[in-house]
Amino acid sequence: MAAAVEIDRVSKHFKIYREKYTSAKERLIHFGRVPHEEFQALDDVSLRIEAGQTFGLLGHNGSGKSTLLKCMAGILQPSSGSVTTVGRLAALLELGAGFQPDLTGRENVYLNASILGLKKGFVDKVFDDIVAFAELERFIDTPVKHYSSGMYIRLGFATAVHVDPEILLVDEVLAVGDEAFQRKCLDKVRTFQAEGRTIVVVTHAVELVRQMCDAAAALDHGRLVIEGDPNDVIREFRERLMAGVTSLDEVGREMATSELSPFWGKVRIEEIAVQYPDPERHNVTHGEPLCFDVHLTSNEPIDDVVIGYAIYGPMGQLIHGSNSHLKGVELGVVDGPRRIRFDLGSLPLLDGTYSLTVGAHTLSGLVYDHWEQKRRFEVAAGGRDEGMISLPARITTD
């Protein structure tokens, strides 16, 4: 296969200024020397992304994954090494970047498309699709300064994905916008996959990589740690996180708890496995039962164990939470591995991605282990109801 992106021994260091002297006066005073520290954002990274692959780039905050993506996009120039891309490239880094508030949506689409390197003739052909995708038919001739932020993002995304990119770079933008729009974005990304385009996703959402990617790589402190099969990469990435190479957003919460709890780590959560009713289909539809298994382990016999869980909605709202004690289940002594099944019954939930938090703690609340929203599950309820909860609502008239 041909390489769509070839990264050859790329390093990038930034200067971190303690103070910034941008005026000539200040530069003169300091004789042009500005006190700074070197920060190595990327260290000799080589990667090959084949054409047609969906490639996941994992890393915690500050691992250099976004820097690498920006190098691929050409926004940043590597300090040494080279990045070669073959084919038209669109980067979903910030949607609607470069929109001019005073120009209308129509004018901005043309301007934005030409920034992305497209000819007017081509934009003419896809213009109606862009407007339809963004659902802005009525407002396309309104200056974008009157747009809501949602409309702004929709137009930006619509333009970016309609420029017929052969390589699409995605930097967690799929996390913006409302839920319906997120789904639309994901659908579009899936279509791109089906069409054999190359997609590079930068994220720390491990599940996204597992579900979507053909290949992946993990970065840690600017160095390439592992590349290859997504499952191997995810495992390695996890282990590193656990080994103390941690980021605040992913495991910071656990770190914080570990300082509080003297029992931290005595019982460990090994895995939380969401059991979809149909393993082929990674979602659950309305009315189907959903289970998840919590795999625990301990090195010594522990008898005071309560497992709590919580389900969060797409916007992070707590939907439901409980624990084994409240449900009247005593786990007894945990010694070695143990599997506990949580049967949620049929879910009255509507479409969306929901996340699962599981914690193991003593009856008095001292924490052994805690996985904060590390597992997600998809609900594909169908139907046209809006919101999160499905109600058996009926409408009658006399």
């Binding site: 930034f14 990045v83 038209r88 490239l89 980067a91 301007l111």
Partner: protein
């Protein structure tokens, strides 16, 4: 779907000038769109829109006509026409350079998010100035018609050459300063201040002979200012046939000077493109 016309792109600290120039050329449509955007944004909510570009030089003409032809007669006859023929050139240079210098910093929003040859930004600023130049040219033509002013027909072929010379010089400076301005924001102000003496170093409000005669043998020094040969060519072609109070040189003399400017500016342009290329690598960190 696969568009094989899109060549492989390599991003690296090293790079060739040739590929760069080809890339700028490939993005010419963006250049046109940015110019259009610039003009649209400027006149977006004004009722008269583009007319404003015509009204400013028109007002200038009226005022100067009253001051120099009615209140203080003497000096250069039909002074407003003399003035405007040089001022046309100066405005293009001045506006192009000042807006070009600020162009990269001003577009930080897109520079940080999308890749395209960044040289397009200063070039589009000059493009917008060029559009204004032509609009003001309309005022010039109307004035010439109103006064039934005798134009130096045989010198008119100089005008496109002069315009090319000026654009090359302006582009070289604007590309250079737009990159430096990212690191040293003072550049913007420095350029504006440096332009002021340069204006009076160019024979726009006075006649070339005034200085050249004083310099005597060293009159050539005066021509080192690249704007001067361009201004002189415009004055000779537009005004020169009317009064021999101002310079009357043969055609080849103007042409020779312009060719020198073109050669010098081309060298300058190559230098400033490579400086730009070198500085561009860290734009995102500084913006």
């Amino acid at each position: 779907m696969t568009d094989l016309s899109q060549p492989a792109r390599t991003i690296t600290p090293k790079g060739h000038l040739g590929t760069r120039v080809r890339e700028i050329f490939r993005y010419r449509e963006l250049l046109v769109n940015l110019v259009r955007k610039d003009l649209k944004v400027r006149y977006k909510s004004s009722v008269l829109g583009f007319l404003w570009s015509l009204l400013t030089p028109a007002m200038l003409l009226v005022v100067y006509y009253f001051v120099f032809s009615v209140l203080l007669p003497g000096g250069i006859p039909r002074f407003p026409i003399y003035l405007l023929s040089g001022l046309l050139v100066w405005n293009l240079f001045n506006v192009g350079l000042v807006s070009g210098t600020g162009s990269v910093v001003g577009a930080s929003g897109i520079v940080n998010k999308v890749w395209f040859p960044r040289e397009v930004l200063p070039l589009s600023a000059i493009g917008a100035a060029l559009v204004h130049f032509f609009l003001q040219g309309i005022v010039m033509v109307l004035t010439l018609l109103a006064f039934r002013h005798p134009v130096g027909w045989t010198y008119l072929p100089l005008l496109p050459v002069a315009l090319v010379a000026l654009l090359l010089f302006c582009a070289a400076l604007a590309i250079f300063f737009s990159a430096v301005n990212v690191y040293l924001r003072d550049m913007q102000h420095l350029v504006e201040i440096a332009l002021l003496p340069l204006f009076f170093l160019s024979p726009i409000v006075y006649s070339y002979d005034l200085i050249a005669n004083r310099l005597g043998r060293f009159a050539g020094l005066y021509l080192l200012n690249p704007v001067t040969p361009v201004v002189l060519a415009f004055q000779r072609a537009i005004y020169g046939n009317y009064s021999d109070v101002v310079h009357q040189f043969p055609f080849w003399w103007y042409l020779r000077n312009l060719v020198f400017v073109i050669i010098g500016s081309s060298v300058l342009l190559v230098i400033s493109l490579s400086v730009f290329r070198r500085l561009e690598g860290n734009f995102t960190e500084e913006l």
